[in-house]
Amino acid sequence: MSYTAEHEGAKHAPTRKSSLTQGLLAIWPICVGYIPLGLAMGVLGEKAGLSPLQVGFMSLCVFAGSGQFIAVSMIASGASIAAIVFTTFIVNLRHLLMSSSLAVHYQGVCRKKISVLSYGIVDETFAVNLNQLKKGPWDINKAIVASYAAFFSWVISTTLGCYSGRFIPENAFGLDYALTAMFITLLIFQLNGSIFAITAIIAGVSAVALSLVLPGNAYIIIATLFAATAGVIIKKWRQPLGNH
């Protein structure tokens, strides 16, 4: 689509063309992975009473897989706007770290491009861009192409999911399990050492315990802050022993 037009224009700017090609080559598995996830999100949106236009508008403005899934389930259960916005903020606050670590690699880059890139930072685009930055130079144009290709895949598949939602019965194709499967995979991607595994176990166990005694979703925030703090303390405590 729009890439074809940019490809033609790129004849005069070879570096731009290679940015596009390289960006797309790096991100295509994420674009494909977003299709079942986006369709699932669209279907759940339809079940919560949203129109395809509303789902597409939400994906365009928010671009946050897990945040949108949670928001849609909260809409379905009749939560207040303030509660949904606050939960979205907490759930997406983790992107603060991703943005911070990317900032190190893009020092002195034009601030317009920095802002454009920052809109497209989610778990998957961050992981792909960081992986490229580990391998060698990965200029901001490539990072923008990669992030926005994933973004468009997300907007299109969520909207299509909502269109097809009315024809799909409850839990067809196991769609209700899409979020769980995504979280399982993303959790595994995050396990970069024993301290991460320990933190995950603390977070999971304390979240289960808190979820049984606290109503609502507060257990997510409390367990996360508790586990990350405990993780740092355990890391510091183990360091003098020299076996971290």
Binding site: P29, I30, G33, P36, G49, L50, Q54, C61, G67, A71, I75, I81, T88, F89, V91, L93, R94, H95, L96, L97, S99, S100, G108, R111, I114, L117, Y119, I121, N171, A172, F173, G174, L175, Y177, L179, T180, A181, M182, F183, I184, T185, L186, L187, I188, F189, Q190, I195, A200, A203, G204, V205, A207, V208, L212, Y219, A223, A227, A228, G231, V232
Partner: protein, 107 residues
């Protein structure tokens, strides 16, 4: 949900999603964060994912009840093994969904 409140909701969600992505890249490109804060922030993603995932697997109903042998948990085990060895997001989604779908027919 009526259109006006939906637009307010989505714009609010968009704003609170964009600010944490934009502020560090825009302002921190030259400043270093305190190392302890970085170490703490590094553990946030794994903690939040685990805190979202595990209660969804082993609790059911409202108010929630502990149910460690739920169908969600039983399907999570092969899904976890598949994700562990393939490291594939799309593949794990499809496998997890198919197993869960199939389990619905068996049980």
């Amino acid at each position: 949900m009526e259109t006006t409140s939906f637009i307010i909701l989505v714009l609010g969600m968009g704003l609170v999603s964009f600010i944490p992505r934009w502020v560090p890249l825009f302002f921190l490109s030259k400043r270093e964060l305190p190392p302890l804060l970085i170490e703490w922030l590094e553990l946030i993603p794994v903690a939040i994912l685990s805190a979202l995932l595990l209660p969804a697997l082993v609790t059911t109903g409202t108010p929630r009840v502990f149910n460690p042998l739920s169908i969600e948990m039983l399907i999570a085990i092969p899904t976890f093994v598949f994700a562990w060895f393939t490291k594939s997001l799309g593949g794990t989604l499809v496998v997890g969904m198919l197993l869960y779908w199939g389990a619905g027919y068996v049980i």
